[in-house]
């Protein structure tokens, strides 16, 4: 079939037509944005992932890394675990990060095909867990040379086969969490036929502790243990419900404490990490890029922040371009939201104040790609971000210019500290 001039012209037109960008821009002057977002983050190190495949048939071109979808930080606060949709994951020591590329090959990565979620151990800086669509969770030790899982958590196949007439169906795990002090594993699955499950395991023995399957009617997409109370679990699903369980109760119907109807679809849920062990504030980010804050003790919805309000706080024009990367616990029990514009970058940090009202807080300078996942390294007061172009950036706070010090800021003590801190140049090992 010849490629006539006409056909070429048509194809050029349609190519141009399909590249329609999302229309979104700053509403205010850049100086105003800079002063409203008083924390300015600049990249300390910029690196990128490089995937090395075994076969050399691909020749000159490097395969771009598959989208990095998730990450977690080890309890030492400096090593990050990043997982890719293809099933590989690798660790990253931020102290050793340089502008050299971060290589992904068989020697540097662990493989769990169908990888859906990663969680670092709460007690050891050397172990982590991974879950997959194969319905299992695996425990890995980074010191292990053989790159094989130390432990595998799966459903008890024998008892399952005895209970059901036909072959037990695989239950793909979408997200899971490990409780404080690494005692329990709780995992949420996809909808399988008519049930979506919450599976539980005891970490030390590896035994399956049972499952819940009555509290959600669709894929379970968020699972989070309370940071201090390991019997308290929050789960969220695409059915819009946020469930809170007290695992000390044996039966599911007694364990279910609250069901919060977000009337949307839950993307992630985060417990506030306040000093008090009875902190019960849960922040939920929905798939429609909105935020709801609930109190798991009183059962009240404390705040509902829609895309329009977020766009106003971000000082951007298009609410439909608002994208929330995730929710983070900042200093002094503050809740931070990392937001981007879907038109490309413009990453900004929004803080929820004591009344849960969104306020501008930080700017990530010159970030032009949407950030897939990010880690907040609270000890070092740095951010590590992984964006859609496979670029890794380690951010630090630049000391603000004198004109910004004049700006009246809220009585937040931490922001005062930041302004007065002097940052030393980064020392490499």
């Amino acid at each position: 079939m010849e490629d006539s001039d006409e056909e070429q012209a048509v194809s050029k037109l349609t190519k141009r037509a399909t590249k329609i960008q999302i229309d979104d821009r700053d509403v205010n002057e850049w100086e105003q944005v800079q002063s409203a977002f008083f924390e300015h983050y600049n990249p300390l190190t910029v690196s990128r992932f490089r995937k090395e495949s075994k076969s050399t048939t691909s020749g000159s071109g490097n395969n771009p890394p598959p989208p990095n979808l998730f990450s977690d930080t080890f309890c030492d606060g400096t090593t990050i675990l990043c997982g890719f949709a293809g099933g590989t994951c690798r660790t990253l020591d931020v102290n050793r990060l340089s502008s050299e590329e971060v290589v992904l090959n068989a020697q540097t990565t662990w493989k769990h095909s169908g990888l859906t979620c990663l969680r670092c151990s709460r007690v050891s800086p050397f172990t982590f867990f991974s879950s997959s669509t194969d319905g299992t969770i695996r425990l890995w030790d980074v010191r292990e040379e053989a790159r094989k899982p130390s432990q595998k958590f799966a459903l008890d196949e024998a008892s399952e086969a005895a209970n059901t007439k036909d072959k037990p169906k695989k239950k793909p795990i979408l997200q899971f969490d490990v409780s404080s002090s690494d005692q329990l594993l709780g995992a949420g699955t996809e909808l399988v036929k008519e049930d979506s499950y919450l599976l539980f395991w005891d970490v030390r023995s590896g035994k399956s502790l049972g499952a819940y399957w009555e509290s959600h009617s669709d894929d379970v997409t968020a699972v989070r243990f309370h940071p201090h109370q390991n019997h308290c679990l929050a789960t969220g699903s695409t059915d819009g419900l946020l469930n809170v369980f007290n695992l000390l109760e044996t039966a599911e119907e007694d364990a279910l404490q609250y069901s919060f109807n977000t009337n949307s679809s839950v993307d992630s849920v985060h417990w506030s990490n306040s000093e008090s062990t009875t902190s019960s504030i849960m922040t939920c980010v929905t798939h429609t890029n909105e935020v709801q804050v609930w109190d798991a003790l009183t059962g009240d919805r404390i705040a509902e922040i829609n895309r329009k309000l977020l766009a106003e706080t971000m000082m951007r024009s298009n609410p439909d371009a608002v994208y929330i990367t995730s929710c983070y616990n900042l200093e002094n029990s503050a809740i931070g939201l990392m937001t981007c514009s879907l038109s490309g970058g413009n990453t900004r940090l929004i803080e929820l104040d004591s009344e849960m009202k969104p306020k501008p807080r930080g700017l990530f300078m010159d970030q032009t790609a949407v950030i897939q996942t990010a880690e907040y390294l609270s000890k070092a007061h740095r951010w590590a971000t992984f964006d859609e172009n496979g670029i890794i950036k380690l951010w630090h706070l630049q000391s603000p210019s004198p004109s910004e010090k004049k700006q009246k800021r809220s009585k937040n003590i931490s922001s005062e500290d930041k302004r007065n801190k002097r940052f030393k140049p980064y020392n490499r090992d």
Partner: protein
């Protein structure tokens, strides 16, 4: 939000769908659905999600809503001939799974007063959760009839493991402008839900339950880079 589907095109397609349904009359009122084909999206690897949007015109008029209310709400419900149940009636069910299941089947959606909604897991157990019909919050600050209409006008988009999506946006008994408006709102909402907005949309079709699909938009993959 500028739509890639022009108003004229939309009206033309809507009229075509209504017309084809009238040519072959069925014994029921056909639903009109919007079918979306997606691209640049990997359902296996990308996150699953869903979303709800309120349409201007009620797509399913026969939808039944029950109010689980406190005294004030139950009085209001009875005054407006809205089915309702109070805390006592719920307690009588004694967390009996069969009764709760029956209740869930009887109505399409539930609304509950603030004081009652927190007690649902204690009073009824997870039966309503399982049925996907957990009640929505009904406050005293809003009008009950308005909230019910809102619930009836809300549709849900569910991203499954495949590249196409289907949602009911109306029925053939509606007039073309209303149907077109519903379709427009749905499309704009869905696009705002997608990460790459219009770049994730490959095709749009509308059809009635038994009728043929009418193309609203079709971007052939052949031209994609």
């Amino acid at each position: 939000m500028s739509s890639k589907v022009s108003k004229e095109m939309l009206l033309e397609c809507v009229n075509a769908v209504i017309q084809s349904s009238q040519e072959k009359k069925r014994n029921f009122v056909e639903t009109v659905e919007l079918q979306i084909g997606l691209k640049n999206y990997d359902p296996q690897k990308d996150k699953r999600f869903s979303g709800t949007v309120k349409l201007k015109h009620i797509p399913r008029p026969k939808m039944s809503v029950c109010v689980l209310g406190d005294q004030q709400h139950c009085d209001e419900a009875n005054a407006n001939s809205v089915p309702c149940m109070d805390a006592e009636a719920l307690k009588k069910m004694n967390k009996n799974k069969k009764l709760v299941k029956k209740l869930a089947k009887k109505y399409d959606a539930f609304l509950a007063s603030e004081s009652l909604i927190k007690q649902i897991p204690r009073l009824l157990g997870p039966g309503l959760n399982k049925a996907g019909k957990f009640p929505l919050l009904l406050t005293h600050q809003e009008s009950m009839t308005q909230k019910i209409d809102e619930v009836k006008a809300t549709i849900k988009f569910q991203m499954k493991k495949v590249l196409c999506l289907c949602v009911a946006v109306g029925h053939v008994g509606m007039n073309p402008e209303e149907l077109a408006s519903n379709v427009n709102v749905s499309i704009n909402f869905l696009v705002s839900l997608l990460k790459k907005h219009w770049q994730n949309v490959r095709s749009l079709h509308i059809k009635s339950s038994m009728g043929p699909p009418t193309t609203l938009l079709n971007i052939p993959c052949f031209f994609e880079t």
